[in-house]
Assembly symmetry: C2
Homo-oligomer: 538 residues x 2
């Protein structure tokens, strides 16, 4: 049986596509919401690898490296892009100008070392590649002219759970393992990492850590960061491994430097991860509010109460409607608790008191339903959440830009920030495409001091102009996020797409400090050039 292959042009496997009914429903829905005729959509066909001509590799690795390298066209295409809108758009346009010269498939840490050693001497850029789900240009070998070539270093062969410490609830895991395989390996022990980003099925542990991915929990353990007990990283200067420690106060945290380094400081090969028992107690509720502002006040109160719900997501009315979780007249909060240890009634009871005090409405019968987290509004939202990446690919092929950006802001600034960012994106969509678009907002994560608003926008572009339109909107929206005091990314990473705003956001001296650290760890500057640390001479 042939191995199931992932799409080089979009989300999921090659054999996966939306059904005819689903396609029609999505297009009709967007025709309606964007006020355009369904005939307006012009669909590009799925690209055929056979139609795409890649240049011959510019470099010639020695046998130790060549032995793990592939020059197969499909492989090079698959490793050219992540899942950002410009990535999808260019894939459908069959533009693979930045394809890597080779794809190195590391099966061992020695393979990683061999690639870095050679590349350092040969002036070849190396792009660490996990699942390739970057939505911000993090894996594209767009490294400029300063290198003799570029290699995509696929870590997918480092896919084992090596050791489980049931007592401490931790496991030593190789970085290239994908989400489903990771959970499958932990399940027999009754353990789980409980890190479920939207990309779960097509992203890896190392990718999550390198990009500070956001996961399952809406509060407390929002990023994968806190689940990291220790890290092992291969750099061009050698191996760096931190101790397994439940906590420490010995100097700045070594792991916190590597988290968020996005492949620019080293290649994470292993991690000891903190795990949890599989939850057995659950409670969920859908709570309705007049609008996102009322909802936000309630969510703030729950978020500041020390209850730590696993889910505390708030959808504005239109976001609820688009995901079939609401009818568009009210904002919806999805509230859930889970535990492997105890019934969560007291927790949910208090949370419902708080939201009721803030005008939230809910159906007590739904709350009493033990399957509430997978039925009703919460269930509809969950189903839509899993389908979104497929819609994203399909809509791009139809010249609908449907992108998202996420940020975080303190509560005192939330309302003005939300309104300003939304207005900037709305104006940009209109200016770019000549037609109004739709922008919606939800909270993906909630902190005691502020929410993480996640914006989704849709507008009708046209093939040929889509990249330019997207860039215009991206720039205006990002400018507004930075001007309003937000972060350019809460959990989608910096990549290449966010670098200009990242450089405005992070303290410039910190940028210099990280660049100095990179010069020590990666003296030739071959690791993911242009990401996190600006490429020299730019």
């Amino acid at each position: 049986m042939a191995e199931r292959r992932r799409k080089f042009w979009g989300w999921g496997y090659e054999d996966e596509r939306l059904g005819d009914d689903e396609e029609r429903r999505v297009l009709e829905g967007w025709a309606d919401r964007l006020g355009v005729d369904a005939e307006a959509f012009e669909r590009l066909p799925v690209p055929d690898a056979g139609d795409i001509e890649l240049g011959a590799p510019r470099i010639d690795p020695p046998s130790r490296v060549a032995g793990i390298c592939s020059t197969d066209t499909y492989d090079r295409l698959l490793h050219t892009y992540g899942q950002s809108i410009p990535d999808l758009a260019r894939a459908f346009m069959k533009d693979f100008a930045n394809a890597p010269d080779y794809v190195a498939h590391a099966k061992t840490e020695e393979d990683v070392t061999a690639v870095l050693d050679w590349a350092t001497g040969a002036g070849v850029a190396v792009i660490p590649f996990g699942g390739g789900s970057s939505a911000t240009g993090g894996v594209e070998p767009a490294v400029g002219g300063g290198f003799n070539g570029a290699i995509s270093l696929d870590l997918g062969g480092l896919d084992k759970v090596l050791e489980i410490d049931r007592t401490s609830r931790a496991a030593r895991i190789q970085a290239g393992i994908f989400g489903p395989a990771l959970e499958a390996a932990l399940k027999p022990e009754g353990l789980t990492l409980r890190h479920f980003p939207q990309s779960f099925s097509h992203s890896t542990l190392g990718g999550w850590i390198a990009t500070r991915a956001g996961g399952h929990f809406a509060t407390l353990y929002t990023h994968v960061d806190d689940f990291v007990e220790s890290l092992r990283t291969v750099t061009p200067a050698g191996v760096m491994e931190s101790r397994r420690l439940p906590g420490s106060g010995a100097g700045p945290s070594p792991d916190r430097l590597m988290m968020g380094s996005e492949g620019a400081l080293g290649v994470i090969t292993e991690a000891w991860m903190r795990l949890q028992d599989r939850p057995t107690h659950r409670a969920a509720a859908s709570v309705y509010f007049a609008d996102i502002y009322d909802g936000a006040e309630a969510i703030r109160a729950v978020g500041q109460a020390g209850l730590y719900p696993s889910n505390l997501r708030l959808l504005d009315p239109m976001e609820a409607r688009i995901t079939d979780a609401g009818d568009g007249t009210r904002a919806l909060a999805v509230l859930a608790f889970e535990s492997a240890d105890h019934p969560v009634d007291a927790w949910m009871g208090r949370a419902l008191e708080i939201v009721a005090d803030h005008g939230g409405e809910f159906d007590p019968e739904e709350v009493a339903n033990p399957d509430a987290h997978i039925s009703g509004s919460a269930g509809a939202w969950r189903a839509a959440f899993i389908r979104m990446p497929y819609y994203r690919e399909f809509l791009t092929a139809n010249a609908v830009i449907n992108d998202t950006f996420e940020t975080a802001i303190t509560w005192d600034r939330f309302r003005a920030f939300h309104d300003d960012v939304k207005a900037a994106a709305e104006a940009a969509m209109e200016e770019a495409t000549g037609k109004s678009g739709v922008i919606t907002c939800r909270f993906t994560h909630v902190y005691p001091d502020g929410p993480a608003p996640y914006f989704t926008y849709h507008c009708l572009s046209r093939h040929g102009a889509l990249l330019e339109h997207w860039r215009y909107i991206k720039e205006r929206a990002s400018d507004a996020v930075i001007a309003g005091g937000g972060t350019i990314t809460h959990h989608h990473a910096v990549g290449r797409d966010h670098m200009p705003w990242y450089e405005r956001q992070r303290p410039s001296l910190f940028g210099e400090a990280v660049a100095a650290a990179k010069a020590k760890l990666d003296p030739a500057g071959i690791l993911n050039p242009g990401v996190i640390v600006p490429a020299p001479g730019r």
Copy 2:
């Protein structure tokens, strides 16, 4: 009225001493436990500043800096040492060889900049000084011969809460503020930082952040780290300020590099701190176990249950006895919950079920007492905890070494680690002093993947040999901590005392990366030389 002055030789204010009864009780207790005659104690008198000759300052700052500098003997003595055993011992021996040439009293950020600018050009070491409570040699101007002088930079003049954001529950606070003043300024708003290290009354916000101090909460918010929303830091290369963000995934965290930098990368001048509402609901219980191992199993189960008690401290039988919290036959766990939002009965109820399942015994009547957290065993422990620094000074004057060291270890290794470290310290006490000492253990903080064991040891030394004895014991105990896989410090910081073990613990490449960052932020290497980053040419 004259300002109340802090002791330059020990803990607290000059007018504070133990009462005669308390002194007698402490000495008789230790004579008994150490198996020596109470006559064996030889007490050094409190040093008199008038007896101590300091050399004239070796340097001559320009008027901008001189205007905020003091050469007062008391001031220079106060800024020579922290509160480590060798600090106390040398103070009682009137050895102040490393006194700073000047003490600069910064009242503004411009003062800090002026000192750093001048010192960078003049080759003068600058030791940032908050409350001077370092227990690991973090503030002593022991900078070696590579500098033209040394200045202690006292931040105590930066002592204001500048701004309170009640909505987000955060405040912008100057780094030099002491614990009590900080809490007093927040109280009218009903807010609290709830960071209460043992040093609370004589330590500062900036010191807590720079050393990753451990605070009030035994679980979840164990270090001050998680309360930091953003930081403002002055470095010789300029000012570094991070954005106020509830959460972010934009590259490695700038704040996490400064946390734990212990004054070696910059001088923290301000922070936005995450606050909490003042708790109104409380529950506490004292739970008894046969020994620390049985107790540890129960504590592990509670720590892995997702209940997040504010207190989850475990004392071994002898530690409980010494602090009057137990009779020495059983281990004692102090368990507490607190909330500003809701009664904590369900939380405490479940925690008590868990400890009972693990053989823990408790008095249901005590649990029902709303003042349980300040009465009974918990209250006795709390009272002793606050007196400990005074005993430490008093015992040092009596040639009893009474030091502590704290670490963290995963649960799977705890028992062997505990036994090995304890045995190493016991052997070292015997070898150094010729007499057996007493070592006890408690857990100060508990993580799902392991505890933070805190060891306290006492042995009778003699004046003249105390420093040498202490060093011998410190080295053996630290070797055992590192060999067993622990951290050289969980929340007491690295300072100068822990550098050799810190260098064995942290990945060496990470050390090089931090040194490279320091070279960028502090090009002349004047900031707290020898701490975190080894002094050049050492």
